[in-house]
């Protein structure tokens, strides 16, 4: 679905991404882990075509990303960004409908209305439908944004979904709900790429984990393959211990300073 080949991004002399290669298939959830400034957001911007690579290429559905026009791209991939503040107040249902904008000219069709209703049900925000977005709590706002993003690619089951720290600032319940939703989308055939901070969340929900440090790839593979004390130390410069967890293949990661 997505093939990244020797992707390099450079501002002046500063190399933000260095010959990065990886791939993600349809039906797969790829988690990207890395310390602050490792190049995760830069990678996300490159994948979204917000910025253009210095070298290397991104192949999306067997076509080079540069060959896509923006409206065309909007119909096959959706992005949930980190910052989602709006200054002009919109109703929740209006905001979710914006996700359908790439699919109609001036006024929504009946199927667009139906999709908006479905995604609002799936994300559990039906009861917020007539509320003003700016009066919602952080967790509710994030779910509304996710519904909008979902609406954008709802009728395209082999589309890509990019999530930039979707659980940021949310409590445990919402974090889990959002990750479960992301997982179920991958199971339905979407290719989901997701920047995460929590290693345990990544190993619990992802099919593949990509670890980045200073724009380079530290490791890529299944959670079981890449979650190791060495990889985590190289990526985050912290010492951790691994603890086997009943019911899961992949061990839990806990800070090493805590004595057990």
């Amino acid at each position: 679905m997505i093939e990244v080949k020797k992707l390099t991004y450079q501002i002046g002399k500063k190399i933000l991404l260095n010959e990065l290669s990886f791939g993600a298939k349809a039906g797969e959830l790829l988690a990207i882990l890395g310390a602050n400034g490792a190049g995760k957001s830069t990678l996300m911007k490159l994948l979204c075509k917000e910025i253009h690579p210095t070298a290397g290429e991104i192949i999306l559905r067997r076509r080079n990303l540069t060959d896509y026009k923006l409206p065309e791209l909007a119909r096959i991939r959706a992005v949930l960004a980190q910052q989602n503040t709006i200054s002009i107040s919109f109703l929740v249902k209006e905001l979710v409908m914006m996700g359908r904008y790439p699919h109609f000219e001036q006024q929504p069709k009946a199927e667009d209305m139906e999709i908006v209703r479905l995604v609002m049900e799936q994300t559990g925000i039906m009861h917020l439908s007539a509320r003003d977005y700016n009066t919602l709590s952080g967790g509710e706002q994030q779910r509304v944004q996710l519904a909008r993003v979902l609406a954008q690619i709802y009728d395209c089951p082999d589309a890509c979904l990019f999530l930039d720290e979707p659980t940021n600032g949310l409590d445990l319940l919402y974090q889990q709900q959002i990750m479960e939703l992301a997982r179920s989308l991958a199971d339905r055939g979407y290719c989901v790429i997701c920047i995460l901070h929590d290693i345990n969340f990544a190993s619990r929900f992802a099919d593949q984990i990509l670890m980045l440090k200073e724009g380079r790839k530290v490791a890529i593979g299944t959670p079981l393959e890449v979650i190791s004390c060495e990889n985590i130390h190289e990526t985050f410069s912290v010492n951790v211990k691994l603890m086997p967890c009943e019911g899961y293949d992949c061990p839990l990661v806990i800070p090493a300073t805590i004595q057990t």
Partner: protein, 348 residues
């Protein structure tokens, strides 16, 4: 939702039509609705009957109608561009007058009057108004670009920077305009004074025809960008992800909105607050959906300016109030109300 939008627009259209008829009838020479219709029928050659006094026809066709039309055009232009600029800056406080766009337009208009004597002599013709509109458009465009560049950081408007740069631009344009006024001859001075006061008093068919294209293009064009402006409200990156060519769209909006502001300033001077309160009223009463706000602001802006002008010329008849006083009188309380509700909303 589509039906609701259409119904609201039709309603606003009826309101505007009513105000236009009312404004055409009321004045120093009073004309009844039936007389109005028969004058129009006679003038367009539909009917030969003369059920009116010749004086009424002369007043209506040569004085009142151009003035009403000018009010409609300028009100529509200011309303639409106000709505579009607020969407562009992603800030409900952005208003052509407040952030320096109008003063930039005034500066260039005055510059045109003082420097370009040959154009000044043709000012009363349509070509003269085209030239003036073009000049004030350049001024408006320049100030918009400057304010926009200064106040946008990381795709977000910083309100403080926006207002401060607006104040700075206003002060600078004011100073330069003052300097030009100082240099101007007596005859030029009279023209300048007329422009900076803000009035529809100079209306003639020439001015109406002169600004018609500069108003019609934005009023018809901007609603097509409403959907993109909605997605821009979520952020630059978000709009891009939804397939909007953000840079191109911003350029088109700046050009279209400033054409309308520039043309309005060129013929009627500084008329404040229409561009601020009209889009706000639309949002507060109906919805923030730009597909309604932008065309609705055109209709409501036209209705407000036409009725303000009606009051301006009849309240102390035969004396005439500058229309800027009226729009400010209505606008300031609304503006304060917005600031206070915004403050209370942020407190929650």
């Amino acid at each position: 939702m589509i039906k609701k939008t259409a119904a609201i627009l039709v309603l606003l259209g009826i309101l505007l039509a009513g105000i236009v008829i009312l404004s055409s009838c009321i004045g120093a020479v009073s004309i009844s609705v039936s007389e109005l219709l028969s004058i129009l029928a006679h003038a367009t050659g539909i009917s030969d009957q003369v059920n009116f006094k010749p004086q009424q026809a002369a007043v209506l066709l040569n004085i009142r109608m151009p003035r009403v039309m000018l009010g409609v055009l300028i009100g529509a232009g200011l309303g639409t561009s106000g709505a579009a600029i607020q969407g562009l800056f992603r800030n409900p406080l952005a208003e052509p007058g407040l952030i320096g766009i109008s003063s930039g337009a005034i500066l260039f208009t005055v510059l045109m009057i003082v420097m370009e004597v040959s154009v000044f002599k043709m000012l009363t013709t349509a070509i003269g108004f085209y030239a003036l509109s073009a000049a004030s458009f350049v001024g408006a465009c320049l100030t918009t670009m400057i304010v926009y560049r200064i106040s946008i950081r990381n795709g977000k408007t910083e309100v403080t920077t926006l207002l401060l740069s607006g104040i700075a631009i206003n002060a600078l344009s004011g100073a330069l305009t003052g300097l030009l006024t100082y240099m101007a001859t007596d005859e030029q001075l009279r023209t300048i004074t007329f422009w900076s006061l803000g009035s529809l008093g100079g209306a003639s068919w020439e001015t109406v025809i002169g600004i018609l294209p500069f108003i019609l293009v934005p009023v018809i064009g901007l609603p097509f960008l409403a959907k993109s402006l909605n997605s821009l409200a979520l952020g630059d990156a978000q709009a891009l992800h939804m397939g909007v060519d953000v840079r191109k769209m911003k350029r088109i909006i700046i050009v279209l909105a400033t054409i309308a502001v520039g043309a309005s300033v060129a013929v009627a001077g500084l008329i404040g607050f229409i561009g601020l309160i009209i889009p706000h009223t639309m949002r507060m009463i109906f919805s923030s959906d730009n597909r309604l706000v932008i065309p609705g602001s055109a209709l409501l802006g036209a209705a407000l300016l036409t009725s303000s002008d009606l009051i301006a010329r009849t309240a102390f008849s035969p004396a005439e109030l500058p229309i800027g006083i009226l729009t400010a009188l209505i606008g300031t309380p609304v503006f304060l109300y917005i600031i206070i509700t915004e403050r209370n909303k942020n407190k929650l």
